[in-house]
């Protein structure tokens, strides 16, 4: 491995940072309070009253919308016409759940007209290095347990061989013609069975590099994590507490991004390797490819065109190595577009989990202790296994920061089932179901108002949240500087009509309301980096280069609004160019709800850097001190004299002036230890038929505190889309598997994504707070509403007919069965 491909230069797997040793924390001490001060050194221009905002928090048109509604925007596959010599890829995938490839007969495939090459695990162009597809920062908190093409197959769908051919149909036919023989091994698909010492074992220790804390491959455990605050054990043994225990189960959800995983690789005339690819993480992809293919980072270029949805599924480097290997083997550009069937069985999905919640609560309703335990099924490989499971605890539990004793543990187990990975919410939906469903049950049992019960324990401004950091790794202690939970609840209750639900006239119909709260983070605490650069043109317009990744969220538009606010110009005076590793500054990518907060702050810093130079030029041209000047309406103006000079005049003077010249440039780079939580309050209104169990969800109301919404229209869209995904988690089966772990769904007509008629109206309410650590007061928005519908609907059904559904999805059959049990 060259030095370039191995940034640490030790030629070996990096030291894992997956370490999350169990630790106990004492209560707050003064030194700690000092270490996490409440006061934040916020620049004055970051906290603008609504009337002072010209671009920020305006409903600016999403800048690429006109291209999108006319079908003219380009996604990866739309670049095919630019490569006349393009070859098309298809992948041969394991048909068995577990075994070893003993023979691959590619002769029939190779003999087909138009077939360029068939690659197998032994082929020279195929890397034999181990890796993880996770797409995380470095060192990676996921085990290196995969090969690009593998001889040891661990699920129906594992890639075994890859084909390049003249057209997609031929590639597919050739892949079908490749004959693979296997020695079949015993397999296990159930996570509880897999955890048994006698279960078939997926990995030998030596098959994994960069192992994660708590791994025990003899029991198929890729990781175990545990964290503790206070003394929960004693609290549970107290005489004066009620101990409740409940268990919950979640589905295997598909990202179902409508644009399939698509990647195009070629070598350019400078012998550099270019990938045009539908990714959330261009820079991480570049680093991972450098590692795998032993190519210097500088010789790989990853460009992201428009992306047709990611939701975490394109954080994983799922497809990129295939076209790159085929391109190396054929010396042709190669396009690989996964099939929809592959999307369901061979890409990634949300980790299905069983989560136990346990509380110790006094008669008066004080929560003395919470314990959450998660058993996570990571499938055949371990990408995001530990970190997603960690978030089952570290996202929902901090919501109840007043609870003194907290314990969390997770076991992450391999099975011979499709791979899991990052997905919007990232463990929080599983944990939120368990915690918010559990608290509702406890409140009912103790005769407490479920809202008031929560309010007594939840976060407020000024709190030091120790829970998020109690496991190390992702999450850290943090001071809470913004929290709109009270208003979220108040406005959500009003919108759903919480206090005046009318019962239907029919005796067999019962209406109920349920609610749930959620907190997320904003970026991975202490593990983010975003950067941006701004160049001024002589006509006063700008080029903004930013590593941040717009995967359809509108992030590019948010960047434009942030830059325009600082520069005092219209958004359309700025050309944005994002996510091209040759051209745009470094960025960790679009995950963990970081883009607006981290990359957006980098944009703000770059704009301020450029603005400082603009004001210097303005000072020279107006002959006034720069301190008296500001920008606005496309000009530099003086508060003192009322004089002004346009940005265009400054641009020309700076570029073509007589004596001194300067290209006005600004740069910004941003990292932080902070990860402020956004909050959501979910309300669901349901009518249940007690004769059939059938239910009708009338409305989803979700109120979200995302700080200052940079673009309220786009933010509402994020909230509604996330809530739809959350609704699916509550009512749909997800990817079901047969006895051999093979996905039973192969296209959208078999995957039950709630359609337009099946989706209730969603009312999104944005509750503005000001987060001083974020650009113009912003924090994240797009994940937190993913977490809340399963518990809120479970609570609403409980409210309507008195039965509790803990195993998702909530179906008429399950409700009916519970009603029959009574």
């Amino acid at each position: 491995m060259s030095d370039d491909a191995d940034p640490r230069g030790d030629g070996d797997a990096p030291e894992t940072d997956g370490g999350t040793a169990s630790q106990s924390d004492a209560a707050e001490d003064p030194a700690e309070l000092e270490q996490y001060p409440f006061e934040w050194d916020e620049p004055a221009n970051n906290d603008l009253a609504p009337g002072e905002r010209d671009s920020v928090s305006q409903r600016a048109e999403k800048y690429d919308d006109r291209k999108l509604v006319t079908g003219q925007a380009k996604y990866t596959a739309d670049y095919e016409a630019r490569y006349p010599d393009l070859a098309y890829a298809a992948v041969v995938r394991s048909e068995i759940p577990h075994g070893r490839v003993t023979d691959i007969d590619a002769s029939a495939a190779e003999a087909m007209d138009g077939v360029e090459v068939v690659l197998t695990p032994d082929s020279e162009a195929v890397p034999d290095a181990k890796y993880t597809s996770a797409g995380q920062s470095y060192p990676e908190p996921s085990p290196w347990d995969m090969h690009v093409l593998t001889e040891h197959v661990r699920y129906v769908g594992d890639p075994v061989a890859a084909v390049a051919a003249e057209d997609a149909e031929t590639a597919r036919a050739a892949a079908d013609a490749v004959e693979v023989r296997y020695e079949e091994y015993d397999y296990v698909t159930d996570p509880e069975a897999a955890f048994d010492a006698d279960a078939p074992q997926l990995f030998a220790d030596e098959e994994v590099e960069n192992e994660i804390v708590g791994h025990d491959y003899d029991r198929n455990r890729m990781a175990n994590i545990e964290g503790e605050l206070g003394d929960p054990e004693s609290a549970f043994e107290g005489d004066d507490v009620h101990v409740h225990e409940t268990e919950w189960e979640t589905i295997r959800q598909s990202h179902a991004n409508v644009e399939k995983h698509t990647s195009l690789a070629y070598r350019n005339e400078d012998d550099r390797h270019v990938l045009v690819t539908s990714t959330q993480v261009p820079n991480h992809t570049r680093r991972q490819l450098a590692h795998l293919f032993d190519i210097p980072i500088r010789d790989i270029r990853v460009k992201k065109p428009r992306v047709g949805g990611g939701f975490g599924g394109k954080q994983a480097m799922v497809v990129e190595p295939i076209p790159l290997a085929l391109s190396l083997a054929t010396d042709r550009p190669v396009l690989y577009e996964a099939t929809r069937e592959e999307e369901f069985y061979a890409m990634r999905s949300r980790h299905p989990m069983k989560v136990k919640a346990k509380t110790a609560v006094t008669e008066d309703g004080d929560i003395e202790a919470i314990d959450i335990y998660a058993l996570s099924n990571t499938g055949a490989y371990g990408s995001h296994g530990m970190t997603v499971a960690g978030n089952v605890g570290s996202k929902p539990l901090p919501l109840y920061s007043k609870v003194p004793n907290v314990h969390f543990e997770a076991d992450i187990v391999h099975t011979n089932t499709p791979q899991t990975g990052a997905m919007r919410g990232y463990g929080a939906p599983q944990g939120t179901l368990a915690l918010e469903g559990h608290l509702d049950e406890v409140a009912r049992d103790l005769g407490l108002d479920p809202v008031e019960f929560r309010q007594r324990h939840y976060m407020e401004v000024g709190d030091l949240d120790e829970i998020a950091g109690m496991m190390g790794g992702e999450g850290a202690k943090r001071r809470i500087r913004s929290c709109g939970l009270d208003e979220c609840i108040e406005r959500g209750k009003e919108a759903i009509g919480w206090d005046d639900i009318e019962q239907p006239d029919e005796d067999h119909l019962h209406r109920g309301v349920g609610m749930a709260l959620s907190a997320q983070g904003t970026g991975v605490a202490g593990d983010e980096l975003g950067a941006a650069q701004l160049m001024m043109n002589e006509d006063g317009s700008f080029h903004l280069q930013v590593g941040g990744v717009d995967i359809g969220t509108g992030a590019d538009t948010a960047f434009l609004q942030i830059a325009a606010e600082v520069l005092g110009c219209d958004e359309d005076q700025i050309v944005v160019r994002s996510s091209d590793t040759d051209v745009t500054p470094f960025d960790y990518g679009a995950y963990a709800s970081s883009t607006t907060y981290i990359s957006g702050m980098a944009v703000k810093k770059a704009a301020e850097d450029a603005k400082a130079r603009i004001l210097e030029w303005g000072a020279k041209m107006l002959d006034e001190p720069a301190a008296d000047l500001d920008t606005g309406d496309g000009a530099v103006y003086s508060e003192a004299t009322g004089e002004s000079v346009t940005l265009e005049d400054i641009g020309y003077e700076a570029a073509y002036g007589d004596e001194e010249r300067e290209h006005i440039l600004g740069k910004g780079t941003h990292c932080t230890e902070e990860s402020p939580p956004p909050f959501a309050a979910q309300f669901v209104d349901v009518t249940v038929d007690e004769e059939t169990g059938e239910f009708d969800v009338h409305e989803l109301v979700v109120a979200v505190d995302c700080g200052v919404a940079i673009n309220p229209g786009m933010a509402e869209g994020q909230v509604e889309g996330a809530n739809h995904m959350s609704y699916e988690l509550a009512v749909s089966e997800g990817i079901t598997l047969d006895e051999r772990g093979r996905a039973e769904v192969s296209d959208f007509d078999e995957y039950h994504l709630p359609s337009a008629t099946e989706t209730p109206p969603i009312e999104s309410i944005l509750v503005e707070t000001h987060e001083p650590t974020g650009p113009f007061g912003a924090k994240s928005v797009a994940e937190v509403p993913t977490n809340t519908v399963p518990p809120a609907l479970s609570n609403a059904v409980r409210d309507a007919v008195g039965v509790r559904i803990r195993e998702m999805p909530i179906t008429a059959e399950k409700i009916r069965a519970k009603l029959d049990e009574r």
């Binding site: 509604v69 006319t70 992201k304 949805g309 929809r340 869209g717 337009a756």
Partner: protein, 190 residues
Amino acid sequence: MDIELTINGETATVEAGPEQDLATVLRQHGHIDVKCGCDGGTCGASKVFVDGEVRMACGVAATEAEGSEIRTVASLGTQDDLHPVQQAFVDNFAVQCGFCIPGMIVQATALLDENPDPTEREVREALDDNVCRCTGYQKPVEAVLDAAGRMREEGVAADGGRPVGGEPADDTAMGKSADAGGCCGGGCDE
């Protein structure tokens, strides 16, 4: 084999393999506004008008379309002169990743052509086989209802009052994006 099609008002002879679907053939002919997110005929992104009827182009054999008149979303409006449905999608923030949007807009215009004053339920029914993962359908439904109102007020026919086959948007009119369309905007190494 070669088949004859009229695409957005222009007659074209296109090559189509026996197994090829209409979406693939249209795309190979440069009509990248026809998207496909499924393995054939299920996601709705490829919806186009085939002789006036909305069809998922990826679920139609290209040879079956021989002689047909095809209209794609690009026939409805240009970036500088959007169709009211397109404009309503922009104004209502109904577009996120945008991949499903061409099919959704084609379906919405067909609905409004038939039913200029639909209820929310009727809009949802019309969009029922258009898969969208980003929006939860909330803003697209609001956009279609908004478009219906605008078109009733303005007396615009659902086809935008344009002759069939308005020119697709020209590459040079692609707005200010450096990376979203056309060439990659100067950093490109071709």
